[in-house]
């Protein structure tokens, strides 16, 4: 790419540079002045936007383990083209989460303490270790893509040998910490609003992350397809409509499972009464359920919506919004009433978060541009059978 092309200002480039600049200033203030001066956190609301955002970051990065398991453990190779985007998403998502965690820590210089100081009874300890291990797994899973580019064959061979145990470990680590984010709140039955508090919180978190993680991949595929069609032509990538429809079916199953579990939870614990009490929490709960569960279930149950790329894109946005609402409700809104303060994130909290999001998107684009992430399956398709390539509609967006 030519330098003047990079420097050519577009709307998003200007906005991104502004956000990152503001974020850097905020980061400087955060570390030089402390949490009190730069956040709206108080003693009764000690966790805020940053922790909430960690929740969604991890939830939305969940496709890393589901797709890897589908392809490498269940040997459904149709989904192979989704593996690399999913792992890259997970890797970048987790990097973002780790950065934000360090920003949020009161004593960031002690971030390494969990490595040597252990309390195995702490959910937080388990999550920390799972995130460390899983980020290692993601590095190993994505390494071949980088090594391929530089034509290093020996390490790729070695990674191939250990690949199956690595994938299995990744699935287990993910299962544990995805659910454990819900377990964090098991110890506050008196604080978290009963609409969200449940002894099944870990299961709710696990099921919802599967649906949202896959939706994130559908969303990204659509975005990438749009970006690539303009430049290189998207038919070079292996993303086919039937693959995304297949992923959407899994989203549907996960959403229904999650919804049934919620119904069971409400009936079993006599929580239905809370649905009739008018309050901010109730409205937010309805919003979360309608946008994130009911609408997507309704739309996905129609074949024509499942097969249509534009509708899939809209549905994926719904499911992602549902997860974002859910995690923020659990970590912020659901605790507001019992804390007695109305927490709203400060400018610095928001600007640091936005900066990291912009950097994550930038990193994703950069890697996708320079490494074979959305790999062409063309050669493979052509040699094996030309028929299936015609059958499956490619997502090209120029209509």
């Amino acid at each position: 790419m030519k330098t003047n092309e990079i420097l050519k200002p577009t709307f998003w480039k200007v906005v991104s540079v502004m956000i990152v600049t503001m974020g850097l200033f905020s980061t400087y203030f955060r570390f030089s002045r402390g949490l009190g001066a730069t956040t709206n956190l108080v003693d009764t609301a000690p966790w805020g936007l940053w922790i909430g955002f960690d929740f969604l970051g991890v939830g939305l990065a969940a496709a890393g383990f589901t797709i890897a398991a589908t392809v490498h453990i269940f040997n459904i190779h149709k989904y192979e083209p989704l593996v690399r985007p999913a792992i890259l998403t997970a890797f970048i998502g987790y990097s973002l989460v780790v950065c934000l965690l360090v920003v949020d820590l009161g004593r960031p210089e002690n971030f390494w303490h969990p490595l040597v100081m252990w309390n195995i009874h702490s959910v937080m300890f388990e999550i920390t270790w799972c995130i460390i291990c899983y980020t290692t797994v993601l590095t190993l899973e994505f390494a071949p893509v980088v090594l391929e580019k530089f034509k290093l064959k020996a390490p790729i061979k070695f990674l191939k040998i250990i690949s199956i145990p690595v994938v299995i470990a990744g699935v287990l680590f993910s299962t544990l910490h995805q659910s454990s984010f819900g377990s964090l709140y098991l110890i506050v039955p008196g604080r978290l609003h009963p609409l969200w508090y449940s002894s099944l919180l870990p299961v709710h978190f696990y099921i919802s992350c599967i649906a949202a993680g896959l939706s994130m991949i559908i969303f990204e595929s659509y975005q990438t397809a749009r970006a690539f069609t303009e430049e290189n032509g998207f038919h070079n990538t292996g993303l086919k409509m039937d693959i995304l429809s297949g992923a959407a079916s899994v989203v549907l199953i996960a959403l229904i499972a999650g919804f049934l579990l919620k119904i069971y939870d409400f009936l079993n614990n006599g929580k239905l009464i809370y649905l009739t009490i008018p309050s901010t929490e109730t409205y937010l709960f309805y919003l979360e359920i309608v946008v994130g569960t009911i609408v997507p279930i309704y739309l996905l149950s129609y074949r024509k919506f499942r097969k249509d790329k534009k509708w899939l894109y809209i549905i994926s946005i719904c499911v992602i919004s549902g997860l974002i609402l859910n995690r923020l409700n659990v970590s912020i809104t659901g605790l507001a009433a019992s804390s007695g303060v109305n927490y709203f994130p400060s400018f610095d909290e928001i600007s640091i978060t936005l900066m990291l999001v912009v950097l994550a998107i930038f990193a994703f684009k950069l890697v996708v541009k320079n490494f074979p992430v959305f790999v062409g399956e063309e050669e493979y398709e052509d040699t094996v059978n030309g028929k299936s390539a015609n059958e499956s509609k490619q997502i090209i967006l120029s209509e």
Binding site: P46, F74, D104, H113
Partner: protein, 256 residues
Amino acid sequence: MLKEKGILFDVTLCVGCGSCYQACKEKNNLPQTNKDFLKDHLSNNTFTVVEQYGKMYARKLCMHCNEPSCVSVCLVGAFNKNVTGAVLYDADKCIGCRYCMQACPHKIPRYEWGTTQPRVRKCTLCIDRVKAGKISACSEACPTEATLFGDMDQLVAVAKKRLKDDPEKYYQQIYGLEEAGGGHVLVLSPVPFEQLGYTSKLSKEPMPAFTMRAMEKIPPVVAVGGVFLSGMYWLTKRKNQIANEEKKTTNGNKEI
């Protein structure tokens, strides 16, 4: 060997003089935070407060739980339960995740938000004084014996005796004996405790039990999950292999 120590606070005896508040500040070298001690609240510079409810006064401080949430949730073990019964914090271990503040059923731990080296702050049950054979600063300062310091078993006996001897005077409950699994600060009051701002409706079960029920499922999930995934890998691979072989043979047959 030290016996487990604790505090018994009796609302009916408290006159709201603020001696305990002042003694706590002096003992812990804490700066003044409010001219009117009755209007002050717990903070990084205030480990105990006296709150006014009509003609009654209620003290708030760390309850030094038997099975403390803060000890169980802290990932680096910066909190521990001392043999004296005190729940203590070690700032050198702390990474500042503030899960302890989120998890405490009594909402006690406070944070030094204003510094770049923040610590979690709360009552230590005067651990240094107790180790030196003295009683806590607040109970020493109390002119009416509303705050008693002593061995836990004796305090429980005293509290039970008071409830029994004067059933008209007291609401028949020892707050802190069973709440959230019980702790080392007991409270007696003439009225139900939620009227004095104490967290009510706490389970009698220690809070860490809520987490343990989920945590104890981890080993079986890992074991079953590991076996299941390995099994599925082997099975589906074998299935694909057989399918491929069959394809080859049928293709060959047709050609012949």
